[in-house]
Assembly symmetry: C2
Homo-oligomer: 343 residues x 2
């Protein structure tokens, strides 16, 4: 999972907000192998899970039986259960977002209410409880808006074009303020487009799992624009290793976390088709006005200050992903009495 | 008041949110002399007014009897009365803030609730009503945080150290998003430290009126820090001329509005003492952690693109201010039967 041992974060107890989500699941998995107690805070039930992620929840519920993983449910948007979740914790990982970029503009007020005010409430509770360290997952793909230079460094102006990105910037600013005024050790990771197993909301979050699923099924793929949009895709294992390093820091900071390389949607499609060995059935739709044309991140600061680098190329990451999905499918088939994994 | 005629904004009807506040009062005064209908939206009653501003409210209430000024009351924070206020309007000036920098950190959630969500509601109502132009007063003194270079250009990173500044940045970002995605003509003025008559909340908003009042009265002045803090002070008349020019634009933009020159608190005190001809009674208090040490704005973009420049030096502006205050006091004495204006 990572070349960096989770124990190196050196916390007494870690709280993972959104520990049942995509990043949270992988992150908790990294901790499950060390002795540091981890408390997951998440909603009672996640809706519209794809079959793969149901497996994860099952495995997490198993994990909760293990000595170092505990699950607490509550509602981040209204703060319900949060004070209890913070008890005895000295490091918080904040992965919760109630919105995604593509839908956040439909209701910015609700976006601000749940994510920004939710995080302000968290910061107050952390101060009250004396919790001094937080790692926050921001958005490398939206906070910069349309980049003036590529790759984009952390010092690039922040001109987000969607509410999701504007709220991320506001949260970053409050974290910075708490670091400067109250000595909070806040580390912000501006994560590019992470991909891997257990990505929920197929079709909304993550084009790589979506493309793999649809090409394998032979179902049609819809692409906004002509497929020339360029993004920075990073395998979740590489994100987890950055998250662990960020948690081990004793200073505040902000870091781009991506591959540092741009790939077009059409390139992704080509890689997916090659790994599956099947042609996609593609329909091109009009471009969306909030989509940034080309973005990939300058990750030199994270290389230097986090002593981190991504280890998986897009091709290697996609191979790993597809292998994992085939194994999961194989296990399901095996469990159903069919010993032959599907192709 | 200004070298730029208010009629040049070329609107059918202008809505001034916060038209009874400090900037709003002066701004509406500039419009009262042209034929463009102006609608003021403000709270029912402003609290803790100093005697000078009570005069203004009286004069505005008089103005409401004039043909082109109308007053509508409501509550911006919850949107009450706002939809009616927008009726028939094609240009909005947004001067409302329910917080000030020095107190905003005490309750950031309330700051976000009233100012950010209030403005998001306004933007939705403007879209529904087809109102396509807005001028927003942001904060040149707080959005940049501790400047890396002086004077600070608009392209400087935005790293505010108080909730007031963070909310201003978030509003700016939503305005920018509406400009890019929905074609809103939004102009943002990052105004430095404006001063002039009718500044409410003596002691909280505006050190120049506060110093004049306290030195004249002989009452003690409290200064946070050693008085070396440097700010960019701009006379309200110069702000009004920038506001008029911003309203006349048909493109979106963001502009620093200041004098472009930095003055320390101790320099202000020296000027005030000289104009009054009396020594101040000063007490120096510990520095506040959210106070930026030195800031003044690079105003070259406004000079170029707004064809604007400040006309009053700090000394000339202070002279104008003190003269106006003495005249007001003279009028009050005259009305009370004492024909001799106080010194």
């Amino acid at each position: 999972m990572s070349d960096f041992n989770a124990a190196a974060v050196g916390a007494k107890r870690v709280l993972v907000l959104g520990g049942r989500g995509f990043l949270g699941t992988h992150f908790v998995d990294a901790f499950a192998r060390c002795k540091i107690p981890v408390r997951i805070f998440d909603r009672r039930a996640r809706q519209s899970l794809d079959p793969a992620s149901v497996d994860v929840i099952d495995s997490l519920d198993d994990m909760a039986g293990a000595s170092n993983v505990e699950i607490v449910t509550g509602d981040f948007a209204c703060g319900e259960g949060l004070a209890d979740a913070l008890d005895g914790v000295d490091l918080v990982y904040h992965f919760i977002s109630t919105t995604v970029p593509s839908t956040s503009n439909a209701n910015p007020i609700s976006d601000v209410q749940s994510n920004l005010i939710g995080t302000l409430r968290l910061l107050e509770m952390m101060r009250d409880a004396g919790v001094r360290r937080i790692v926050y997952v921001s958005s490398g793909g939206t906070v910069y808006g349309n980049p003036l230079t590529l790759p984009v460094p952390e010092t690039h102006p922040l001109q987000p074009l969607c509410s999701y990105g504007i709220v991320k910037v506001a949260v970053e600013n409050y974290l910075h303020m708490h670091a400067e005024l109250y000595g909070l050790t806040s580390n912000v990771l501006r994560v590019a487009n992470p991909y891997g197993t257990h990505q929920h909301h197929i079709g909304v979050q993550g084009i790589i799992p979506t493309f793999f699923k649809k090409v394998a099924e032979g179902s049609p793929i819809e692409i906004w624009g002509d497929g020339s949009v360029v993004r920075d895709y990073i395998h979740v294992n590489d994100v987890v290793s950055a998250l662990l390093r960020a948690g081990a820091r004793d200073q505040a900071g902000t870091f781009n976390i991506g591959s540092g390389i741009g790939h077009s949607v059409n390139e992704i499609l080509e890689i997916v088709q090659r790994h599956i060995g099947q042609q996609a059935n593609v329909r091109y739709l009009p471009q969306r006005n909030f989509d940034v044309a080309r973005i990939y991140l300058d990750i030199s600061k994270a290389r230097l200050e986090l002593d981190w680098q991504p280890l998986l190329s897009l091709d290697a990451g996609c191979a790993l992903y597809w292998e994992a999905i085939r194994q999961q499918a194989g296990h399901r088939h095996a469990a159903a009495g069919n010993m032959e994994p599907p192709r």
